[in-house]
């Protein structure tokens, strides 16, 4: 093989492997973030809120109930009727709780959900078990509930507690809440909570909360605020809707929005991230594309040179019976081979590079189980192979046609 041809192949190798590596980095970033976000349950759980504008109207209008949608028990029943919905629970939050574990104080918030449907929600406990429908004082701990966040200057630091949430399973913990009464004095109330399990990471609020029964949380809320919540007129601030699987998320979202509620879902975030990553990939792929374009010019150049050098040979072949298409196909096959070999070598090199990138990234970022920065899908490999062969083929067409149309006699005379 000629040195020139080898150089041209190297050009294709660089082009192909830069496309693959670039796109694989886009892929890898998307995969690791998507994996992070789509913890079990979170993708199939929709957060439903009362329409924010209607909430504002109601409070300003002094509890006036017009035709604005209210997220009360009737609405919860209606939500349950939507096709594809498995469970619906109102969510009641309580902030400002404190627990003491191992002589350390931790600020906690409670997230009250309906224990009657807890079994149907996609909450998974990593250890322990979920409380039953009647275990009113039992709770599940979020994975990061004992992790305290400290702000030092500009940076945020997560300090993991010595005590793991798992250590508390089966124990009773005491939570203290405070309120200021009418006389300006501070009052305290303690509540015993029995820990039955620890929740697997969801990527949502649950990770930093204690999941409790909503009746209990409502009771504590009433003590803290000193008044009874009028759920029927004011509604819950939030409800969680669990759906069958991710394929119905969009359909259910549409129906809930038609009921004039505001919906948030991980799916929406993933969708919008998807388009961000697509842009990232197009950008990175474009950089590789430029490299391949340069390779393409290299192939055209090499083929043109090679035809120039082999003019006499082409003339001889035509004289002894090669047809126009014989000559044309011969040169197109040659340039396609350059593209194909370059593509194959490029794929092998990018697979190696991908492993190296992940190794090096893993070394710097750390974390067990390795890090995926670069992720090469089979589709990407096939695409790269077809694309590089196509680049070779297309680059060869013009020179090949030029060669095929040489006059045999002029060609045979050239030296």
């Amino acid at each position: 093989m000629k040195f020139r041809t080898i150089l041209t192949i190297i050009g294709v190798v660089i082009g192909t492997s830069s496309i693959i590596v670039m796109v694989s980095i886009g892929n890898g970033a998307q995969k690791s973030i998507t994996d992070e976000l789509s913890g079990i349950g979170s993708v199939t759980t929709l957060q439903v809120y009362q329409d924010l504008s209607s909430m504002g109207m109601t409070s300003m209008g002094g509890g006036k109930t017009d035709d604005k949608a209210i997220l009360n028990d009737d609405a919860i029943k209606d939500l349950k009727k939507i096709d594809g919905v498995v469970a619906v629970t109102p969510v009641v939050n309580l902030n400002g709780g404190e627990i003491e574990v191992d002589r350390e104080q931790y600020g906690v918030s409670l997230m009250g959900v309906d224990y009657a449907v807890l079994e149907d929600m996609r909450y998974v406990t990593t250890s322990g078990k979920k409380p039953g429908a009647n275990d009113e004082n039992s709770v599940i701990l979020g994975k990061d509930v004992l992790t305290s966040i400290t702000y030092t200057g500009a940076s945020t630091q997560l300090t993991e507690s010595e005590v793991k949430p798992e250590d508390l399973i089966g124990q009773n913990i005491t939570m203290t809440i405070k309120r200021t009464n009418a006389n300006g004095e501070e009052e305290m109330k303690t509540q015993k909570l029995k820990v039955t399990g620890v929740l697997e990471a969801t990527g949502g609020n649950e990770d930093y909360s204690i999941i409790a029964d909503y009746n209990l949380v409502t009771e504590l809320n009433e003590w803290q605020t000193g008044r009874k919540a009028n759920v029927k007129k004011q509604g819950y601030t939030q409800a969680l809707v669990t759906v069958e699987d991710s394929s119905v998320v969009n359909a259910v979202t549409t129906e809930v929005e038609a009921m004039q509620f505001t919906v948030f879902s991980m799916q929406q975030i993933l969708d919008s991230m998807g388009s961000v990553f697509q842009m990232l990939q197009i950008l990175l792929g474009g950089i590789g594309g430029v490299a391949l374009l340069v390779a393409c010019i290299g192939i055209v150049n090499t083929m043109t040179m090679s035809i120039y050098e082999r003019t006499k040979e082409i003339g001889i072949m035509k004289v002894i019976g090669a047809s126009i298409s014989d000559i044309r196909n011969m040169f197109i096959a040659e340039s396609t081979m350059i593209g194909l070999i370059g593509g194959l070598v490029g794929i092998v090199i990018s697979l190696v590079l991908s492993v190296l990138i992940n190794l090096v990234a893993g070394f710097f970022i750390g974390g067990e189980g390795g890090v995926t920065i670069s992720f090469i899908t089979p589709g990407l490999v096939i695409f790269a192979l077809v694309f590089s062969a196509l680049v070779g083929l297309l680059s060869g067409v013009r020179p090949a046609i030029k060669a095929a149309n040489l006059s045999s006699l002029d060609a045979i005379r050239s030296e």
Partner: protein
């Protein structure tokens, strides 16, 4: 038949009216001074360049009106060429050079090899079939090119000064071989030569001058 070449804006008349009949199996020698149009005539005859006016008929085929692709198919089956400068492909062995003519005719690989060796046998070069042209003498290279012209068993072989680059001993050998092929296979030969000695076996000797036939002698 006429042939003009464009030289700048002017058309110069190279072949100024050639009229010739050649029978199957004839051995035709084409003589004449350099520049008289012998090569041009041979190339027009083989369909490598089109005539400016007039007709060329080979059997029932009207060469002068064929498209390039038709000509190419025709050459494959009916014509063989031998050149003064051999025109072998330098990167291929003797055997591959001979077999190449069969590749374009769509002959299967094993058969190609078999027939290439057969053709090399005819020219007495089987023992050199693995050699590249640069490893062969001039006479041997010309014999490879003759084998290549023969391998398709064409009815007509056109040779343009086949011995022009060879010494007299080798020239005589090559001409002997050509006469033998003509006798044994009844192939029609048109040979351009400037050596009057080589015309003794020819059935027809044509002298050209300034693009015209000066004399035509049947022997």
């Amino acid at each position: 038949m006429h042939k003009d070449f464009k030289l700048g804006k002017e058309d110069i008349n190279i072949l100024k009216g050639i009229n010739l009949d050649i029978e199957q199996g004839e051995m035709v020698a084409l003589l004449g001074p350099s520049g008289s149009g012998k090569s041009t005539f041979l190339n027009v005859l083989g369909g490598l360049v089109p005539p400016t006016s007039g007709d060329i008929m080979i059997r029932d085929y009207r060469i002068s009106e064929m498209t390039e692709n038709e000509l190419c198919l025709f050459r494959r089956e009916h014509l063989g060429f031998i050149f003064q400068s051999y025109n072998l492909i330098s990167t291929m062995t003797a055997m591959e050079n001979v077999a190449l003519a069969l590749t374009f005719a769509g002959v299967k690989k094993e058969i190609r090899k078999e027939r290439a060796i057969e053709a090399l046998e005819v020219v007495g070069l089987v023992d050199r079939m693995g050699h590249k042209p640069s490893e062969l003498s001039g006479g041997q290279q010309q014999r490879v090119s003759i084998a290549r012209a023969l391998v398709n068993h064409p009815e007509i072989i056109l040779a343009d000064e086949p011995t022009g680059n060879l010494d007299s001993k080798t020239s005589a050998d090559i001409m002997e071989m050509i006469y033998r092929l003509n006798r044994e296979e009844n192939q029609t030969f048109v040979i351009v030569t400037h050596d009057p000695d080589t015309t003794k076996y020819c059935t027809k000797v044509i002298h050209m001058r300034d693009g015209l036939i000066e004399s035509e002698v049947n022997q």
